[in-house]
């Protein structure tokens, strides 16, 4: 009786884990929409690892269940076995090969995310200025330089053009914040005293949540923003409107 119940528990786990992952993959919650050019590659790697994990899990748990089922009923004494070098080599080298593949496969994606030439060659489209507890965005304005009189400021939502590489400079005014856009698979901590740069390219228009991912104080939970992806023409029109509104207000009111 105990044997059936005990094996039942482990079989339930063996079935429930893959089932729940499969169910969530089709019904959610799952990875959000893939809205940047590298999101597909990240999810591809994620999915490939998931398959490897699923195989490893089912294999190990099946062995455990079989060992439990047979061992609980065994009457004769166990064989005094201290180990087996061939088996040790097998279960060192086989996972080793899979892990080596993962290490190699992630290289190109990592260097694309972190080392794209746009990070060096392109001027930042905007500077993100994180502060407890809101997202502010600073544009260089007509003179192309930050921290000058013609800078344009927005809070909460950043408008970016679709279909081109966008570089952002990230800066914090106080504590550490985390710039996280789940739809882009993009996350970067913003550490005081160290400006960070990130890039992304969103192929299609849309609105995407911007979430603070690093604990930044009591209001961390409400540090919400968004990235609105629009066509290049709309983006430029938005900038023009912003500049107009900005020049209409007095210079001394500007921060």
């Amino acid at each position: 009786m105990t044997r059936v119940l005990a094996c039942g528990l482990f079989v339930a786990l063996l079935v429930a884990v893959p089932w729940w992952f499969a169910h969530s993959a089709s019904h959610g919650p799952w990875m959000p929409a893939r809205s940047s050019t590298y999101a597909g590659e990240v999810d591809g790697l994620f999915g490939a690892i998931l398959v490897a994990l699923a195989i490893a899990f089912v294999l190990v748990m099946s062995l455990l269940v079989v060992a439990l089922w047979r061992g609980a009923a065994r009457v004769e004494r166990a064989r005094t076995v201290h180990g087996d070098l061939r088996l040790e080599l097998l279960w060192t080298l086989a996972p080793g090969a899979v892990l080596a593949w993962i290490a190699l496969a992630q290289g190109p994606i990592w260097s694309a995310m972190k080392g794209d030439e746009a990070l060096r060659s392109r001027e930042p489209l905007a500077r993100v200025e994180a502060a407890q507890f809101d997202w502010r965005f600073r544009r260089a304005g007509p003179d192309g330089r930050f921290d000058t009189q013609d800078d344009l400021l927005e809070t909460g939502e950043l408008v970016v053009p679709a279909g081109e590489k966008v570089v952002l400079a990230l800066r914090t005014r106080d504590v550490i914040h985390g710039f996280f856009v789940p739809d882009f698979r993009l996350k970067q901590d913003i550490v005081p005293g160290r400006d960070a740069r990130v890039w992304f390219e969103a192929p299609a228009p849309g609105r995407h949540d911007l979430i603070c991912a690093e604990l930044c104080g009591w209001g961390h939970y409400k540090m919400a923003g968004s990235i609105r992806v629009v066509s290049r023409a709309e983006h430029d029109a938005h900038l023009a409107r912003l500049a107009e509104r900005w020049s209409a207000s007095g210079a001394e009111e500007r921060p």
Binding site: V42, R74, A196, G217, A224
Partner: protein, 583 residues
């Protein structure tokens, strides 16, 4: 405890230098703190399911002035203190303090630790640590609220968070005391294992439990001073105006606070230089204990003893080289990121080797289906889930998305709750007869296991998917983000499962107290186990062994080739008049 010890009034007995008494003191203190940490976890879960609503029982104690509903700053203190208490005052003292103390001398055939006074110090210096942690809830601004990682400048700027005042100061003291406790304990364990082994007990005849505790102690000796020193530096930044971690200055509440140099990243490096090895401190001793328990109750030798020892050694060596994976999104150089990615991937390998060897140990065994074995197998399966999900985090591009989300929360709770705590329950069922002379109840133990096994998965499995969807950690109200609103139902499910999981632990508490009320009936070696601790009476008297032992074989001689009774004890009594091999 001998009859002589029992005659001493308890306040004097409390100052005992006996490793067993100190071990039980650690056990009692950390189980009490487990209850505290668990209640804080329930408060966290309540808020995530039903934000800003009054919570029963705990609510009134924690948030009296709002009728039991958490405030945003109160919530940040909740998870900060949940993590701090569980790591520094539950899991580490439970494994190294309680089982380390109790088992090391017994399993190596020693009469006590090498430094009994240092050992007593390691327990008593933890007490002010616990006091600081608990008292911080009562100070102005509340308990520390910058996360258990206490990243500056949130933790160092007094105005940056309400808990960054006196609460954070007390938090630093709590960690400082806890650091002294672990450090003095670990030095003692290393010296004891190095010098006090019974004659014939070579290093490669040590049970895996002792190896696991040795690995943990070495990691603590090597890496813990870094964190303890870092807490002093942070203290100095906060109260003496130094600038080790301050960076370039900050606007706080509309006021410019000039920086004094340094960088917040320095804290992250120093913090994780210990706190990642601490992850192994929190699981490797449990791995060792589970290996031993599986072997005893499968009546079969540990499969691949030497690979198991090598795997532990590899975990120790690599364990101090992987801290940077906590900083993949910190802005650290991508090249350094690649290095840490490789070491992190590499450390998965010894974990895989250990898992297969556990399966190898039970494979073909004649299993005793008791609570100890079930908890140990539960440990293995939870470790498999938690270990595998860690591979996502080792793949840097995937980690960028999953970092600081509930996938990470799911991952490490599978290891620390599903793994380590299951291992602790296995160890309690296995060694309770030795510790107290009484067997924990089997039926209650199995009932406790079945419910905990199911509910643990109900709580932590869905957290993976919440993280995939972008639910970040440490947010009081995830639904402030439109894209996380669909996760509300899932979070309600997790919370209900968590409340049931908490309530289910009543079976353990009942079992514990019912057992302690029963008369002592356990024999010296109820499991017919081979290792040395079972040579001592249950419970062992002061000085542990009533005869001199000589170790003649390894600790795992079970099965058809092991004597007439399917096992051979590791030691035989020393012949009368034989010369001492060790002083």
């Amino acid at each position: 405890m001998s009859g002589e010890a029992r005659a001493t009034p308890w306040p004097l007995r409390a100052w005992s230098l006996d490793h067993k008494t100190i071990g039980l003191q650690f056990l009692g203190a950390s189980l009490a703190m487990l209850l505290c940490g668990g209640l804080l976890a329930m408060a966290v879960r309540w808020q995530l399911a039903w934000p800003w609503t009054g919570m029963p029982i705990v609510g009134r104690a924690l948030f009296g002035d709002t009728g039991g509903a958490p405030s945003p700053e109160g919530y940040t203190a909740l998870f900060t203190m949940h993590g701090t208490i569980m790591i520094f005052f539950v899991v580490i003292p439970l494994l190294t303090g309680a089982f380390g103390n109790y088992l090391i001398p017994l399993m190596i055939g020693a009469r006590d630790m090498a430094f009994p006074r240092l050992n007593a110090f390691s327990f008593w210096i933890m007490v002010p640590g616990i006091a600081c942690a608990l008292a911080s809830f009562a100070v102005e601004g509340g308990a520390a609220s910058s996360g258990w990682t206490a990243y500056p400048p949130l933790s160092t700027l007094l105005g940056a968070a309400p808990g960054s005042g006196a609460g954070q100061t007390l938090w630093l003291w709590a960690l400082f005391f806890s650091g002294l406790s672990s450090l003095s304990g670990s030095i003692n364990y290393v010296v004891t294992i190095a010098t006090l082994r019974a004659p014939g007990l070579s290093m490669l005849r040590l049970p895996l439990t002792v190896w696991g505790l040795l690995v943990a102690a070495l990691l603590q000796c090597l890496a813990l001073p870094v964190l303890t020193a870092a807490t002093v530096l942070q203290y100095s930044d906060r109260l003496l105006g130094t600038g080790f971690f301050s960076g370039g200055g900050a606007w706080v509440n509309g006021e410019w606070i000039a920086g004094a140099g340094g960088t917040p990243l320095l804290w992250q490096h120093l913090f994780w230089f210990y706190s990642h090895p601490a992850v192994y401190v929190m699981v490797v001793p449990a791995m060792g204990m589970v290996g031993d328990i599986l072997s005893v109750h499968a009546r079969k030798p540990v499969f691949g003893y030497k690979p198991m020892v090598w795997a532990m050694a590899a975990i120790t060596g690599l364990g101090v080289m992987v801290w940077g994976h906590h900083m993949f999104v910190s802005g650290m150089s991508p090249v350094a990121g690649t290095g840490f990615m490789l070491s992190t991937i590499l450390i998965a390998l010894p974990s895989a080797v250990k898992t297969f060897n556990w399966i190898g140990t039970v494979w073909g065994g004649r299993l005793r289906l008791n609570a100890a074995l079930l908890w140990a197998l539960g440990f293995v399966s939870m470790f498999v889930v938690g270990g595998l999900s860690g591979i996502w985090m080792a793949a840097t591009p995937v980690d960028v998305h999953l970092h600081d989300t509930y996938t990470v929360v799911a991952h490490f709770h599978y290891i620390v709750f599903g793994g380590t705590l299951f291992g602790v329950f296995a160890a309690l069922h296995h060694w309770f007869p030795k510790m107290t002379g009484r067997h924990l109840g089997e039926r209650l133990g199995k009932l406790h296991f079945a419910g905990t096994f199911v509910l643990t998965n109900a709580v932590f499995l869905p957290m993976h998917q919440a993280g995939f969807a972008g639910m970040v950690r440490r947010v009081a109200d995830p639904y402030a983000h439109a894209s996380l609103e669909p996760l509300r139902e899932l979070n309600v499910f997790i919370t209900i499962a968590a409340l049931l999981l908490f309530a289910w632990q009543a079976f353990f508490v009942a079992n514990l107290f019912l057992t302690l009320r029963r008369p002592r009936s356990a024999e010296a070696n109820p499991w017919r186990a081979a290792s040395l601790e079972w040579e001592a009476p249950s419970p062992p008297p002061h000085g542990n062994f009533d005869r001199e032992l000589v170790v003649v074989r390894g600790p795992y001689e079970y099965g058809d080739e092991a004597g007439d009774d399917d096992w051979l004890p590791q030691a035989r009594p020393r012949a009368a008049g034989a010369k001492e091999a060790r002083a």
